[in-house]
Structures are given as structure tokens and as C-alpha cells.
């Protein structure tokens, strides 16, 4: 998996866009975010994600971070986890949260639904054996209830058990007393969550317009090959942005009407 250059240009963006379905602007914004998180390196590590302040209060923080490093989510039929990911893999994981387009057919929607549910399934199935066992499910519910000031693991176990029972009854129908239900397979998972309309719910809004350029901009100077430290500038607009040229045009409009040349 080659690392992307720090200033990606059109062909690479085009590849990524085709692969993940994001638009060029969205990829650009996500790339900026990636560089911000990885401190301008080419790969992202778990610690980089751990330091995000917004995630600190999230009960399922570890699972979310793990999902980014899970090879199963990279759409390359890999397994296991990695220690660091490149921008392309980051983008592929993010593409699971894209909303379906307006003009999709039923089959396309079904594919997207499976993809999103597969992502959820991978999050639960931590040992990668293709089934969510009772222990794994219990772990999920415990994590969910952990930050809510829950009243002990008993409840989580109880809820997980009841949920498992429900899945078993819906999927298997009837079981003999000595049969054993191994765990939730992906097909069962699809069945129990088919009413939840995941393709309309598991989406976040990806910014189309890059407003990050107008704030939190850092600048550094290169002299004789040495790069200075970064200084954040809070005034002015960046060179080469549309905003700059617009402001320039407005500012100099008064002059233009005076001097016909």
C-alpha cells in the first residue's frame, strides 16, 4: 500500500473518487483533516485518533477507532488489524457513511445496505470468526451502557441475552432443548435489522465546501531548505482562494470605473 504524496493532484483524486464515490472537494477536505490528525505524516495511528477531544466521551470509542484499523473494512478481503493506515484506507472506511444517491435503483440500495450492515457486523465480531457470539454481544451492550452510569454488568448481560434470544427465535424458529445456537451470522444480522432502514440512517454529512481554509491556517517559511515552525494566522484570506480573488475584485471595482484602461 503505497503512501500518497503530500500534495495529491488530480489523477490520484480521480482514482479515489471513483473508488469511494466522494467528490473532489470532499476528498480534499477529508485529506486536510487526515493531515491534521496525523500531524502531516502519511499514515495515521491509533494514538492520533485517541487524542480527538470529541471522542473522549463516547462510550464506544475503542470500537470506533478499531474499525478504522480493521482490514476487513478496506474492501480488499483482508483480515486482521493494522497499526497504521494511509489516506486511501481512511477514505474507504469513511465511504461507509456516505448517503445513497437520489437516483439509485433498488439493487444498488440493497448493496449499500449490505455494505453498511457489514461494517456494523465487523465492529461487533471482534474475533473475526464470522459470527457474533453471546460474549461479543454482551461486550457491545456493556460498552454502550458503560458511560451512561449503568447499574452494573448484570443489566447489560440481561439485555444482551434477551437480544440474542430474539435473534435466535427470529432466525431459527424452533430449536430442540439441546441444540445450541452458535452466534449471529451475517445473514441473521441482516434479517433482524432489515426494518431499521440503515441506508437512510447510517450517514453523516460530508462538507462540500471547504471552510477550514478560512480559519486554523498555519504557515511556515522555508529558507535554504530549512522549514520554520508553524505559525497560525488568523487574519487575511489565503492566497489563491476564490474568496481572495472575490475580495480583490470588489475592492478594486471602484478604481476600474474611474480608469477605463
Amino acid at each position: 500500500m503505497g503512501a500518497l504524496q503530500s500534495l495529491p493532484d488530480e489523477p490520484e483524486y480521480r482514482d479515489l473518487s471513483e473508488k469511494t464515490g466522494f467528490s473532489f472537494e470532499q476528498i480534499g477536505i477529508l485529506h486536510k483533516r487526515f493531515k491534521q490528525l496525523s500531524h502531516n505524516e502519511d499514515t495515521l495511528r491509533r494514538d492520533d485518533l485517541n487524542t480527538i477531544p470529541d471522542l473522549s466521551c463516547n462510550p464506544i470509542r475503542t470500537q470506533i477507532i478499531e474499525a478504522f484499523f480493521d482490514k476487513r473494512n478496506f474492501h480488499q478481503n483482508g483480515e486482521g488489524t493494522v497499526q497504521e493506515i494511509s489516506f486511501e484506507e481512511f477514505l474507504v472506511v469513511m465511504s461507509h457513511f456516505r448517503p445513497p444517491a437520489l437516483d439509485m435503483t433498488e439493487e444498488q440500495r440493497e448493496i449499500i445496505r449490505r455494505e453498511k450492515l457489514r461494517f456494523l457486523f465487523n465492529m461487533h465480531d471482534t474475533d473475526n470468526d464470522g459470527t457474533i457470539t453471546l460474549e461479543e454481544y454482551r461486550h457491545v451492550v456493556e460498552e454502550l451502557l458503560s458511560r451512561s452510569g449503568a447499574l452494573g454488568k448484570e443489566t447489560a448481560k440481561g439485555i444482551a441475552d434477551a437480544a440474542m434470544l430474539e435473534v435466535a427465535s427470529i432466525s431459527m424458529g424452533h430449536m430442540e432443548p439441546d441444540e445450541f445456537y452458535e452466534g449471529i451470522t451475517f445473514e441473521h444480522f441482516l434479517k433482524i435489522l432489515k426494518d431499521i432502514e440503515i441506508e437512510t440512517r447510517m450517514n453523516i454529512r460530508f462538507l462540500n465546501m471547504d471552510t477550514t481554509n478560512l480559519c486554523n491556517r498555519t504557515q511556515s517559511v522555508r529558507v535554504n531548505g530549512c522549514l520554520s515552525g508553524e505559525l497560525s494566522s488568523s487574519t487575511g484570506s489565503p492566497q489563491g482562494s476564490v474568496f481572495s480573488s472575490l475580495l480583490y475584485t470588489l475592492y478594486t471595482d471602484g478604481c476600474r470605473s474611474q480608469y477605463e484602461n
Binding site: 464506544i60 470506533i64 457513511f97 437480544a163 445450541f180 426494518d195 454529512r205
Partner: protein, 742 residues
């Protein structure tokens, strides 16, 4: 005179003869139109026969007529549903209007004056129950997810409708041939503002029956609720202006300010009353019987208060219901909740029926001025402006929505914009000095009839034809609930990774604020720390338990024979047959004992609900357990092999029954203790435990060593989950700290 006195004193002791008319009371004796009056004035000296029976209609006239009307309305409703074919084709609202027309016609034929839908009555008595019902049971999640879209439709859509219609009608009136050149712009705009608002009553009545998907339903319905503010402001604005005759820029600016004041003020008033209601419900644990009344009264006060200040009463009601619901429901008993639900549904149903019938009657009664062009143009313009408005606004809105609105959704939203009784009442409120009042009323009634009859009747076949997504009838599923919550956190997390503050971020912030500050004050006891998932799970258990009480068998949600043992990873050796029998016998005996104990509760008016509720649920659980036990006894006697034991050799076995997790009240859990060790591996001592009651412990012989572990008898009343898993005795002690803070 003495006869009078005699009559007076005697009448008070008359027995109520079962004709339905109370026999004469003393006071109205002088006012009654009955015959005794005239008799009395004529005959003062001769003793009249004792009037056993006397008719005094005037005394009960008002309540009698009201009751009669309501009864008539309900009988009609009953009648429709008995005719299956009719109720499938024609929506109820249409039938009720027709009935109203018939009744009105009947009254007119008799020669009396048919009663008109009095605006006072409508706005103060008939409308609030419907709106409260809608607001209290508003599905919060889809509403907040689409609140932006709903607001755009409600505010901008209604404004567009009003101005478009008003403007074009004014242009129409300018045409000579119509003969309405006396109508000025302001009057047309006033008319436009009255007739442009989508009506919640009509929308509810029609959409209730077509079961459309949640998104479209909440869009149309939310719009009909929230456009009240716009309607109020526009109506008042234009009414003031049309008296004065001119409009200045200042007036327009003030109008805009007024809109914000009206809507936000209404919401604020509603929220204040909502918090008051929630706070009050925190203390009602000893007087459960009056809990529902608090909900109703606070909401009604919110409505009246905001109407007093000319704020939007509907928005106040909605805000009140939405704000108070989560806290009130955490505080009140299950029976109070059921009472609230049923009373709200009952009142709103009656109100709706009455409104439609009166609409029909008023049509027959009201003064009419018919002008073909005006009326037909109004109807056409209504449709056209609605369609244009929806299409235009959706085009803009889709740029900001994640899940775009499809053409089908747009069509249903446009077609579902029904007008109803609010428009009629507003029109009726116009002062008589308004020259065009009758014309306007006629036009309004025609529009209402058109939308309710034509659009109401055809929307169902159109929905079928276009194959619009219908509402999913799904039972509450614990899996879906878990995953809904999981998704919330997941999406918040991913938004955090992406770096921008989106929808989920703010929702999460609000939830956290709610949990740390607000719930502390408004929820009684320790419940405020309870996360939603657990509350949901409790409710589901309760529902299942109640279903079982009613049906007398296991709930059919899980029809299979799948039980915990099918999914628990198995362990274990078995107990000998002899032991099994002994255990079985003892268990049965103990269960019977418990049952009897719980039956003997004192009957008290004030604790009626609580006692019954807990009784039922515990009873249900007992029965369930008993059945389970009798069926699968042998499979349940397992000893976990790999559990750690704190005391050497002491093993503890828990009795597992399916689906029983949360038992806040008493529930017999059965524990098998296997005391020390290798010498007597088969010895099982049985300990049965009923928290909050004198525990019945039946110890089978066998080495008694550590059998009497009484610490389990003391369960905290609010401890959850006991039965399913077995963390081992040590963990039990640790678990005595039930609230582990985050």
C-alpha cells in the same frame, strides 16, 4: 303562598323517576314554562294533586343538548365502522361532514336555527384535545431529524401560499366581469392567509387511515402543526391593516418581529408549563390517581395562557407535550400512563367527530354569497400554489438534506395539504362589518369540502397506485433499540473524526446536558440515572408480562421453544435424579407459598394502582417461571464448571429462566449452592430468595456449611438483573454498589 311553600319543601324530597328528567327542583319553579306555573298562579286556594311527574326541559337544556350532540356524533362513528365497505373507501371525515349536512338540513326543515360552529367553542374546547394528543405522542426522532424541512414548509410555504393566492385573487377581482371590484388588496391577502394553512385536524383524520411512511407523515403533520404561528400573525396583521387601509414598511417590519415573538413565545410558554408538569409529577408517587389530571391541566393552562397573550396556542401545546413527556413518563405509574393515553385518544376522537359534524351543520346554516368565478378560482389556486410551493421548496431543501425527498414524497406532501375547520373558524371570526365575509366563508367552505372530499378520498388509491412506501408495522425489538443507540454513538464518533460539528454532535451535547442537569431535578428517585436502553427494556418486559396476564400463556413474541440454554455456552455435569425430584418438589411448594402471600394485599383506594400493577407483574413472572421450570427442569440444573469461586470449593448455581432480567419487584430466584467440595460433590442446597419479603429458604440437607448465605436476601429495591448470569458470589458483594458513575 302556603301552597308554594309546601311545594318547595316537598319537591326536594321527590324521588328521581327513571325517565331521565329530574323532577322539579325548587329554584326554577318560578321560571319554568311548565304548566304548574300557570296553575299555581290561578289556583291558590284549592289543593292541587301532587305532581308526580313534571317536565322541566329548560333546566337541563344546555348540558342535555351538548350530551345529545356528542352522543349523536359517536353513534354515527359507530355506525360507519359497522359498515365495512364504506369505511374502507370513504374516509371518516367525509362521512361525518355528510351527516352534519343531513342533520343541519333536518333542523332547517323543522324550522329551527341550526347551531353554527362557534369559534369560541372551537378554539377553546374542541381544538386543544386534538393538538395535545398530537403533541404528546409526537414521534420525536423523526420530528427532530426533519425539523429544518418542516419549518421551511410551514413558514415559507404558508407565506408563499398566502401571498400567491391573495395576490392572484386581487388580480382576479380587478377584472370587471367578475363584479367584485370592491375587494381591495388587503382583504384578498387576509383571505389568502386564512385559507392557505394546512389543517392538522384534517391531516390527522385522513393520514391516520392511509398508514403512510414515517417521513412523509411527519413532514405533512409537522407542517400542519407549526404553521399555526404564521397563520396567527398573518391573520392578525391583515385584519388590523384592512381596518386601517394602508401598510407602511414599519408595519411589515413589526409583522416579522411579531412572527418571532408569537412562535418563540408560544414555545417558551409551553416549555415552562411542561417543566412545571414534569416537576410536579416527581412528587406524585403517593397519589397516583390524580397523575393524569396534572398532565391535562398543565397543558390546557399552557394553551390558555398563550392564547391570552395572542401567542400561538398550538405551538405552546406541542412544546408542553414534548417537553414534559420524557420526564413524566419516567415518574408516573404504568396505569397512569395508560389512562393518559386513552383519555387523550378519547377526547381527541370526540373532538374531531364533533368538528366535522358541526362543519356540515354550519354549511347549511351559514349565510352564503356565491360567486362562481371567485370560488372556482380559489379552489384551483389552492391546488396550484400548493404544488408549486412544494416543488420549489423541495428543490432548495434537497440541497441541504442528507436523505433527499423523492418525487413521490413530494407528491404526497403536496396532495396531503388539506384545509379544515381552523380555516372555517378563522373566517367565521371575521367581524360582520367585513363586506366580503359571506363570500369568503362560502369560498372557504368550498375549499374545505374539496380538499376533504376529493383529496381525502382519492389519496388512498393514489398511494396504492404510486406504491408509496407504507409505515412499517414492527414490534419493539430490543435488537433494533440497541442498534439505534449504537448508531447514534457511532455517528457522533465518526463526525468527531471528520472534524466538523454536525447534527449528531449537538444532539449528543443536548443529551449530556439533559442527563447531568435536567433529569436530576425532574425525575423522582434514582431513576434519572437510568439509561434509555434499560428503560426501554423494562417497558418491553412489562408489556410482555401484561400480555401474558391477559392471555394466560407465554407471549407469542417468542413463539419458539428457544430458551436461554440454547444460547448459553454449555457447561456441565448433572445432578442425580433423586436430587432433581426433591428440588422439584420444594420449588413447587415454595412457589405456591409465594403466590399466596402476594395475593393477600390490602385494598386501598390510593394504592390501588400500584398494588395491582406489581401484583400482576409478579404474578405473571411467577407463572412464567413455574411453567418454565416444569418444562425444562433437568436442563437447568447446571453447575458452571469454570467459574471462579471465592471460597474454596463453594460453587454456586443460578437458576436461569428466559427473558427475565429486570425484576425491580419481588421475584423468586433460585439458587443452588454447592458447598464444599470434593467430599460431597452432589450435595445441593437449595436457597430460594424473595427480596423484600421474608425469604423462604428451603435447605435441602446435605452439608450445611455455607448454605445460609443471607446476604442475598437483602436486595436493594432497585437492583436490576439477578437471574440470568452468575458472576459468582464475590461479585455479588461488589455489586452492592449499584450505581457506578461514569
Amino acid at each position: 303562598m302556603s301552597v308554594h311553600a309546601l311545594r318547595k319543601s316537598a319537591s326536594s324530597s321527590f324521588v328521581f323517576v327513571g325517565i331521565g328528567l329530574p323532577i322539579e327542583a325548587s329554584a326554577p319553579a318560578y321560571q319554568s314554562h311548565g304548566t304548574e306555573g300557570s296553575h299555581l298562579t290561578n289556583i291558590t286556594n284549592t289543593k292541587k294533586a301532587f305532581p308526580v311527574l313534571a317536565v322541566n326541559y329548560e333546566h337541563v337544556r344546555k348540558p342535555f343538548e351538548i350530551a345529545l350532540w356528542i352522543l349523536l356524533a359517536l353513534l354515527m362513528k359507530l355506525g360507519f365502522h359497522l359498515i365495512p365497505r364504506l369505511s374502507a373507501v370513504v374516509p371518516e371525515s367525509c362521512l361525518l361532514i355528510v351527516v352534519g349536512l343531513l342533520v343541519g338540513g333536518l333542523i332547517k326543515v323543522i324550522g329551527e336555527e341550526p347551531p353554527v360552529l362557534d369559534s369560541q367553542l372551537f378554539f377553546l374546547c374542541l381544538l386543544p384535545p386534538i393538538i395535545l394528543d398530537a403533541g404528546y405522542f409526537l414521534p420525536i426522532r423523526p420530528f427532530t431529524e426533519n425539523v429544518g424541512t418542516i419549518l421551511v414548509f410551514a413558514v415559507i410555504g404558508t407565506l408563499w401560499n398566502a401571498f400567491f393566492m391573495g395576490g392572484l385573487l386581487y388580480a382576479l377581482c380587478q377584472i370587471e366581469s367578475v363584479g367584485l371590484s370592491g375587494v381591495d388588496l388587503l382583504a384578498c391577502l387576509l383571505f389568502g392567509s386564512i385559507v392557505s394553512a394546512v389543517d392538522p385536524v384534517a391531516v390527522l383524520a385522513v393520514f391516520e387511515e392511509i398508514h403512510i411512511n414515517e417521513l412523509v407523515h411527519i413532514l405533512v403533520f409537522g407542517e400542519s402543526l407549526l404553521n399555526d404561528a404564521v397563520t396567527v400573525v398573518l391573520y392578525n396583521l391583515f385584519e388590523e391593516f384592512s381596518k386601517v387601509g394602508t401598510v407602511t414598511v414599519l408595519d411589515v417590519f413589526l409583522g416579522v418581529v411579531c412572527f418571532f415573538v408569537v412562535s418563540l413565545g408560544g414555545v417558551l410558554v409551553g416549555a415552562i408549563y411542561g417543566f412545571l408538569a414534569a416537576f410536579t409529577s416527581r412528587f406524585t408517587s403517593h397519589t397516583r390517581v390524580i397523575e393524569p389530571l396534572f398532565v391535562f391541566l398543565y397543558s390546557y393552562m399552557a394553551y390558555l395562557s398563550s392564547e391570552m397573550f395572542h401567542l400561538s396556542g398550538i405551538m405552546a401545546l406541542i412544546a408542553c407535550g414534548v417537553v414534559m413527556r420524557p420526564y413524566v413518563e419516567a415518574n408516573i405509574s404504568h396505569k397512569s400512563y395508560t389512562t393518559i393515553k386513552y383519555f387523550l385518544k378519547m377526547w381527541s376522537s370526540v373532538s374531531e367527530t364533533l368538528i366535522f359534524i358541526f362543519l356540515g351543520v354550519s354549511t347549511v346554516a351559514g349565510p352564503h354569497a356565491w360567486n362562481w368565478t371567485f370560488v372556482i378560482t380559489t379552489v384551483i389556486l389552492c391546488l396550484v400554489s400548493r404544488v408549486l410551493g412544494v416543488i420549489g421548496l423541495t428543490f432548495i431543501i434537497n440541497k441541504f438534506r442528507i436523505v433527499k425527498l423523492t418525487k413521490k414524497d413530494q407528491f404526497i406532501v403536496a396532495y396531503g395539504g388539506l384545509r379544515g375547520a381552523i380555516a372555517f373558524s378563522l373566517g367565521y371570526l371575521l367581524s360582520n362589518s367585513h363586506q366580503m365575509r359571506n363570500l369568503f366563508l362560502t369560498a372557504i367552505i368550498t375549499v374545505i369540502f374539496f380538499t376533504v372530499f376529493v383529496q381525502g378520498m382519492t389519496i388512498r388509491p393514489l398511494v396504492e397506485l404510486l406504491a408509496v412506501k407504507k409505515k412499517k408495522e414492527s414490534k419493539p425489538s430490543i435488537n433494533e433499540e440497541i442498534h439505534t443507540e449504537f448508531l447514534d454513538h457511532l455517528l457522533t464518533g465518526v463526525e468527531g473524526v471528520c472534524g466538523h460539528y454536525g447534527h449528531y454532535h449537538w444532539k449528543e451535547k443536548l443529551n449530556r446536558f439533559n442527563k447531568t442537569y435536567v433529569k436530576r431535578w425532574l425525575i423522582a428517585g434514582e431513576n434519572f440515572k437510568e439509561p434509555e436502553l434499560i428503560a426501554f427494556y423494562r417497558k418491553m418486559e412489562l408489556k410482555q408480562a401484561i400480555m401474558m396476564v391477559e392471555s394466560g400463556q407465554l407471549p407469542s413474541v417468542l413463539p419458539s421453544t428457544i430458551s436461554m440454554q440454547n444460547i448459553q455456552p454449555r457447561a456441565i455435569p448433572r445432578v442425580s435424579k433423586k436430587r432433581e425430584e426433591e428440588i422439584r418438589r420444594i420449588l413447587r411448594a415454595n412457589l405456591q407459598n409465594n403466590k399466596q402471600k402476594m395475593r393477600s394485599r390490602s385494598y386501598s383506594r390510593h394504592t390501588l394502582f400500584d398494588a395491582d400493577e406489581e401484583d400482576d407483574v409478579s404474578e405473571v413472572r411467577l407463572r412464567k417461571t413455574k411453567m418454565e421450570m416444569e418444562r425444562r427442569m433437568s436442563h437447568y440444573l447446571t453447575v458452571p464448571a469454570n467459574r471462579e469461586s471465592p471460597r474454596p470449593g463453594v460453587r454456586r448455581v443460578r437458576f436461569e429462566s428466559d427473558n427475565q432480567v429486570f425484576s425491580a419487584d419481588s421475584f423468586p430466584t433460585v439458587h443452588f449452592e454447592q458447598p464444599s467440595p470434593p467430599s460431597t460433590p452432589d450435595a445441593v442446597s437449595l436457597e430460594e430468595e424473595v427480596p423484600k419479603r421474608p425469604s423462604l429458604k428451603a435447605d435441602i440437607e446435605g452439608p450445611r456449611g455455607n448454605a445460609s448465605d443471607n446476604h442475598q436476601g437483602e436486595l436493594d429495591y432497585q437492583r436490576l438483573a439477578r437471574c440470568l448470569s452468575d458472576p459468582g458470589p464475590n461479585k455479588d458483594k461488589e455489586d452492592d454498589d449499584p450505581f457506578m458513575s461514569c
